[in-house]
C-alpha cells in the first residue's frame, strides 16, 4: 500500500485530463487547454508529460521513459522512479516491452505497435509562438487556418541559409487542418509521426494537451522546390555500426577526438547485444552493461 493515490494525481484531476485527451484525439493537432497542476518537479522537467502519463497509466502497464533517446539520464530515471513509487507499475528500458513510453524530444527507432502509447513532454506547444507572441492572435490564426506566417519563416530560412535550417520542432500539418509543433524532436523523427501507436502531447507550464490518433496524416511543411528532408549526421554509430539511427556527437578528449553514437540507447544496446560492432565499439558483454 502506498501513501499516494494510484499514479499520484487525485481522481478529479485525472478525469479533467482524461476529458482533454479525448477531445484532443477527436481533433488531431488542436491544442486543448487543461488545468495543469503543480507537480513535484519543476516546469521544464516534463510536468505535462507526467500528468498525461498519470492519467493514462493502468496497473498492468509497463513504463519506459526516455530523455533525448536515453533511458539513463537524470530526467528519465527520476520520472521512472516517480511512477514506480506512486503507481507501482513495471518499468523497462526495452522499447518493445513497454506499453506506455514517456519521451522527451525523441521517437524510439524501433517502430511502435498498436498496443503502445507514446507520451511527449512539450515545452512550447504553440508552433506559431515565436512568430506571434499573443495567444489571442495565434488562437485566431488557428481558427482561420491562417498559416502563411509559418511558410514565410521557412522561406526566410531558405533565403538566408539556402535551405530550411529548422532542424528540430519542425512544424507539421495534421490531417490537412492544424499546424502542430511535434515538440523538439529532431526533424529526422518527423516521418515517424504517422505511426500505429497513440501519441499524446502534454505541456504543463503552457497548460495544453494535444494528440495524434494512430495513422493520422502528418505532413512536414515544405516547398515544392525545397522538399522536406529528414536529416541526420552523415556517419554510422561508432558503437553499434547502425547507419539508420539518429546520432549524438560525443566529444571524447580536448584534441579533436569525437564519436557518433545512437541517441536511442536501447536501440544501440540491442544491436550490440546482437553482435553488431561499430568503428570504436568493443564486443558487448551483458555483465558489464
Amino acid at each position: 500500500m502506498s501513501d499516494y493515490n494510484f499514479a499520484y494525481l487525485d481522481e478529479q484531476t485525472k478525469r479533467m485530463i482524461r476529458r482533454a485527451i479525448l477531445k484532443a484525439l477527436a481533433i488531431p493537432g488542436y491544442q486543448v487547454p487543461f488545468a495543469s497542476r503543480e507537480m513535484p518537479m519543476p516546469y521544464g522537467w516534463g510536468t505535462g508529460g507526467v500528468q498525461v502519463s498519470a492519467a493514462c497509466l493502468t496497473p498492468g502497464d509497463t513504463l519506459k521513459v526516455i530523455d533525448q533517446g536515453a533511458d539513463d539520464t537524470t530526467n528519465a530515471v527520476s520520472i521512472r522512479k516517480f511512477f514506480e513509487k506512486t503507481a507501482q507499475v513495471a518499468t523497462t528500458e526495452e522499447t518493445a516491452r513497454a506499453s506506455l513510453i514517456q519521451t522527451r524530444h525523441r521517437i524510439p527507432e524501433e517502430p511502435l505497435t498498436e498496443d503502445q502509447i507514446l507520451v511527449y513532454q512539450v515545452p512550447i506547444p504553440e508552433p506559431l509562438r515565436f512568430l506571434e507572441p499573443s495567444e489571442v492572435e495565434t488562437r485566431k490564426m488557428h481558427a482561420l487556418e491562417e498559416y502563411g506566417l509559418m511558410h514565410v519563416k521557412l522561406y526566410e530560412d531558405i533565403s538566408q541559409h539556402g535551405a530550411i535550417a529548422t532542424a528540430y520542432a519542425y512544424p507539421v500539418k495534421v490531417e490537412g487542418r492544424y499546424v502542430m509543433d511535434p515538440s523538439p524532436i529532431p526533424k529526422f523523427d518527423n516521418p515517424k509521426l504517422s505511426m500505429a501507436a497513440i501519441q499524446l502531447f502534454g505541456a504543463g507550464r503552457e497548460q495544453r494537451i494535444y494528440a495524434l490518433p494512430p495513422y493520422t496524416r502528418v505532413v512536414s511543411l515544405d516547398f515544392e522546390d525545397h522538399p522536406f528532408e529528414a536529416s541526420k549526421a552523415d556517419h554510422d554509430c561508432d558503437l553499434c555500426g547502425a547507419d539508420d539511427s539518429y546520432l549524438d556527437e560525443v566529444i571524447t578528449d580536448d584534441a579533436g577526438g569525437r564519436m557518433f553514437v545512437c541517441s536511442d540507447t536501447d536501440y544501440c544496446r540491442a544491436r550490440r547485444a546482437a553482435g553488431h560492432i561499430g568503428a570504436q565499439g568493443a564486443p558487448y558483454e551483458e555483465a558489464t552493461a
Binding site: R15, M16, R18, I27, Y30, H142, P213
Partner: protein, 189 residues
C-alpha cells in the same frame, strides 16, 4: 433516495477508472474498434458500459443531459450520488446520454467555437448492440478500413462536415463500447 443509488459504483475507483479510461481512449483513437468496459452496475435502463463511462468522465464540472428513457429518478439519483454531475438541458451539456432516437435532434447540442472546438458535447448513445459491420469509416485512427453499426449515416456525415467543430460520440451496449469522433468520415451504407 432509494438505497440502490448508493451501490454499483467502482469499488476501487483509481484503478478501475484507469482501466475504463484506457478502453474509452482506445475506442476514441481507433474509430470502428469495439472495446470492453466494466466495473459499473448502474440502474436500468443504463448499460454497464454507459455507467462506467459516466463514472470515468463525469464529475461536478461536467453538465450532463439525460435524454428520454434514460431520465428516470433511479438514474438521476445514481449519477448524482456517484459523480455529482449537474443534470441540465441539451444546450449546456458537456455529455448527453440516451438512445439515438431520444438524443435527436443533434442541432440542440453545442458544437464548440472556431477558437475552442473542444467545447462541444460528447454524446453517449445507448445501442441494442454494436458490431463492426455497416457504415464504412475513414479518417484518423483508421489504417485502411473500418466499419461500425451506426444508427444512421447522414447525421454523422453532417457532423463530420462541420470539422473541426462538431460532436463526438460514444456508443455503448452491454459492456461494449465504440466511438466516433468528429474527424471520422462516414460513407453511406
Amino acid at each position: 433516495m432509494q438505497t440502490e443509488a448508493l451501490t454499483g459504483g467502482f469499488t476501487t475507483a483509481p484503478t478501475q477508472a484507469a482501466e475504463a479510461f484506457r478502453a474509452v481512449m482506445r475506442a476514441m483513437a481507433r474509430p470502428g474498434t469495439v472495446e470492453r468496459i466494466t466495473g459499473a452496475r448502474p440502474p436500468l435502463p443504463l448499460s454497464p458500459a454507459a455507467g462506467a463511462v459516466i463514472l470515468t468522465l463525469c464529475d461536478p464540472e461536467t453538465p450532463l443531459h439525460l435524454a428520454g428513457a434514460a431520465d428516470t429518478p433511479a438514474v438521476r439519483d445514481w449519477i448524482t450520488f456517484h459523480t455529482g454531475a449537474p443534470l441540465v438541458a441539451r444546450a449546456s451539456a458537456s455529455f448527453a446520454l440516451g438512445s439515438w432516437q431520444a438524443l435527436l435532434p443533434l442541432t440542440d447540442y453545442p458544437i464548440g467555437s472556431a477558437q475552442y472546438p473542444d467545447r462541444s458535447t460528447t454524446l453517449i448513445v445507448e445501442m441494442p448492440q454494436i458490431t463492426q459491420t455497416g457504415a464504412r469509416l475513414a479518417g484518423p485512427g483508421i489504417e485502411t478500413a473500418a466499419a461500425l453499426s451506426l444508427p444512421e449515416s447522414a447525421a454523422f456525415q453532417r457532423n463530420a462536415a462541420l470539422y473541426p467543430l462538431g460532436l463526438d460520440f460514444l456508443f455503448t451496449a452491454g459492456d461494449h463500447l465504440a466511438a466516433l469522433p468528429r474527424s471520422t468520415r462516414v460513407e453511406a451504407q
